[in-house]
């Protein structure tokens, strides 16, 4: 059971970062369809940065920069040029897939890049607690950072004036104008920062979990994060809980196979996505998007 819960947390961590980035973008009024591309650029930046500089910190900085760069692309096209959010997000995802493949070949040739993954940071004292210690207090650094990110974003959104303005940019941009701020600037900043945070989600996969970058390694996790933030009603803690449910579903799917259930692995592998669909369908009627989302200014 402990192993199962620990696996759920590991699988959920990259999703949490991406969902937090998406919340920032969608709360400000721009659909976060480009999360997959932002994660992928972050995953690429993290490994290339750590490999080139032999510094994990620079790797993380590159992850932030990679995700932010994709965010910048979305921001320019959707906010400045008022393009359709969905098409722009999709295009950015395809751009990131092609760009990372090309850059990987240019930088590394045909050899695989391998760095030491980030190791666990056991919290002194707490990590020695039976059961809870290894489950909650012996994770690699980015897992703790994901939790801090939830707290930080909740504080920003609901306890600060900036958060209020940001939410207003997604609900009622005219009110932001009236208050003397620029909703366009808010959206621009939110998408770029959201991209950077989603980039850290990619870094969890590449730098924290496997120590390498492979083509398309995000494998659709950006879309699962998108579903999570909807299920979580654009609330950081709600989205994190949804990510944990999806993480648990995937951990369960892997374990279900080992029990010898007489069902094709292809069917078992659908479990997390069936859960996502069921939850989305269940919440669909009551879910309300930010009022001005997707509407150009």
């Amino acid at each position: 059971m402990i192993d199962f819960l620990a696996a759920s947390i590991r699988i959920a961590t990259p999703l949490v970062f991406a969902a937090l980035g998406g919340i920032l973008s969608e709360r400000a009024g721009v659909f976060a369809v480009g999360l997959e591309g932002m994660m992928l650029m972050g995953a690429f930046g993290a490994v290339i940065g750590a490999w080139a500089s032999a510094s994990d910190l620079l790797g993380l900085a590159m992850a932030l920069a990679g995700g932010a760069a994709m965010g910048l692309a979305v921001a320019i096209v959707t906010v400045r040029y008022r393009a359709d959010n969905m098409v722009t997000g999709l295009t950015v995802n395809i751009l990131a897939a092609g760009l990372t493949t090309y850059l990987l070949h240019v930088l590394a040739g045909s050899s695989a890049i391998q760095v030491d993954p980030l190791g666990p940071w056991p919290i002194p004292g707490l990590s020695a607690i039976p059961v809870l210690g290894p489950l909650l207090f012996a994770h690699p650094p980015l897992t703790y950072l994901a939790l801090l990110g939830c707290a930080g974003l909740s504080f920003l959104l609901y306890r600060t004036q900036t958060g209020l303005k940001l939410r207003a940019a997604g609900e009622n941009p005219e009110a932001v104008f009236v208050a003397g701020s620029s909703p366009m600037r808010l959206r621009f900043t939110a998408i770029i920062c959201g991209g950077a945070i989603a980039g850290l989600g990619g870094a969890v996969l590449s730098l924290q979990q496997v120590g390498t970058f492979t083509d398309g390694m995000t494998g659709g996790r950006g879309y699962l994060a998108l579903a999570s933030l909807i299920v979580g009603r654009w609330n950081p803690w709600g989205a994190a809980a949804a990510c944990l449910v999806f993480g648990a579903a995937e951990a369960f799917e892997l374990r279900l196979q080992t029990y010898g259930v007489p069902v094709s692995s292809y069917v078992v592998q659908m479990v997390p996505y069936l859960i996502a669909l069921a939850v989305l369908a269940g919440l669909g009627r009551s879910t309300k998007l930010p009022a001005a989302i997707g509407k150009p200014l």
């Binding site: 192993d3 696996a7 590991r10 699988i11 990259p14 659909f31 369809v33 359709d84 969905m86 098409v87 999709l90 295009t91 395809i94 493949t101 090309y102 990987l104 070949h105 590394a108 045909s110 050899s111 695989a112 391998q114 993954p117 609900e171 996969l205 979990q209 496997v210 120590g211 390498t212 492979t214 083509d215 398309g216 390694m217 494998g219 909807i230 995937e250 951990a251 892997l254 374990r255 196979q257 080992t258 029990y259 010898g260 259930v261 094709s264 692995s265 292809y266 078992v268 592998q269 989305l280 669909g284 879910t287 309300k288 998007l289 930010p290 009022a291 989302i293």
Partner: protein
């Protein structure tokens, strides 16, 4: 406030993806003995498609000019094959068994062209062939090796694409021979053979259940398998020398696929005017070209931790496959997920 419009989102995504896949169709380069390969993905993926590129390039020393097409979508396979065949290419390869159907359709119109499905499992006379190495033989050896190196007598395998013949052969061979050697085998299939994070989680779940030797047949995701073994300090087998570098103490050996010899052997005969219309499978029974071999590092087949007695057993098994004393055709039941 507007209601959530998931249908709209999905529609846009599907339309966009279809458009992009359409754009990614094959555009063969122009190339007298010429060979081309159609690849399902990009040659820069450091994985399956990079291998495909290296396969066609390996034909240059055999006197072939080479070309390739990347990102060939299923719907474009027939057109791409026809393009190369009508341009005078004498060998047109497709990099996976999925190209066989399209080849069988196109081949009658180009009777002098040799069509080859890399890693396929069927052919059509006179000029469509599949080439692969005998996954069952090498999977069986991995099963024996794993069972002998396990202290818990529990071993695990992580694979993708359940039901694909060469996967069934290797996973099934692994189960049959590890079980015969006294180990309990558990197999997990993952969704994506390129997803190293998913492979690592699958491997960790096997380790959680007591497995202390892991193996698998994955592409880029194989690195995740080795990372899991490194994290939990259990033995693992890899695919290519790169994996030894990740965990030199724990990687027991790697399967090294010898496509240049397999394809080169066929290409030389095609050049001499011979055509093949069958499935050609290389293994210990086709030596000196065996299609694959084991390698821990150049010049060394196994990690020094593997006892000489186990290496001797493995060599005997190879000899038995070579002489025909031992034969193995794993079933889908042998390769089933679970225990």
């Amino acid at each position: 406030m507007p209601k959530l419009s998931l249908v709209h989102r999905a529609g846009v995504l599907i339309a966009g993806a279809t458009f992009v896949l359409g754009l990614a169709g094959a555009h063969p380069a122009l190339a007298d003995d010429k060979a081309a390969i159609l690849l399902p993905g990009s040659i820069n993926d450091q994985s399956w498609n990079a291998l495909g590129y290296s396969i066609v390039k390996s034909l240059e020393p055999h006197g072939f000019k080479t070309a390739y097409s990347e990102n060939v979508a299923d719907a474009d396979e027939g057109d791409a094959l026809r393009d190369y065949a009508s341009q005078g290419y004498s060998i047109v390869l497709g990099h996976s068994g999925r190209f066989v159907s399209a080849m069988e359709e196109v081949a009658p119109d180009f009777p002098k062209v040799q069509f080859i499905a890399v890693s396929g499992n069927e052919g059509q006379a006179p000029n469509v062939m599949s080439i692969d190495w005998n996954n069952a033989q090498f999977g069986c050896q991995l099963g024996l090796l794993s069972a002998r190196m396990s202290k818990t007598h529990k071993v695990g395998g992580v694979y993708g694409l359940q039901g694909v013949p060469n996967i069934t052969a290797q996973a099934g061979g692994f189960r049959v021979c590890a079980t015969q050697a006294g180990a309990k085998v558990t197999i997990i299939y993952i969704k994506d053979m390129e997803d190293s994070a998913e492979a690592k989680e699958a491997a960790l779940s096997l380790i959680d259940q007591g497995a202390d030797v892991l193996t698998g047949k994955l592409n880029a995701a194989e690195a995740g398998l080795v990372e899991a073994a490194k994290d939990k300090h259990v033995y693992v087998t890899g695919r290519g020398y790169d994996q030894t570098k990740i965990a030199p103490d724990l990687v027991l050996t790697n399967i090294l696929e010898d496509w240049p010899s397999m394809i080169g052997n066929v290409a030389d005969q095609v050049k001499a005017g011979k055509l093949f219309g069958s499935f050609v499978q290389y293994g210990y029974n086709t030596a000196p070209v065996t299609g694959a071999s084991f390698g821990y590092q150049p010049g060394q087949a196994f990690n020094p931790v593997v006892p000489a007695s186990v290496v001797k057993e493995l060599d005997t098994m190879a000899s038995d496959f070579g002489s025909g004393k031992r034969k193995l055709v794993p079933t889908e039941h042998d390769a089933r997920p679970g225990s």
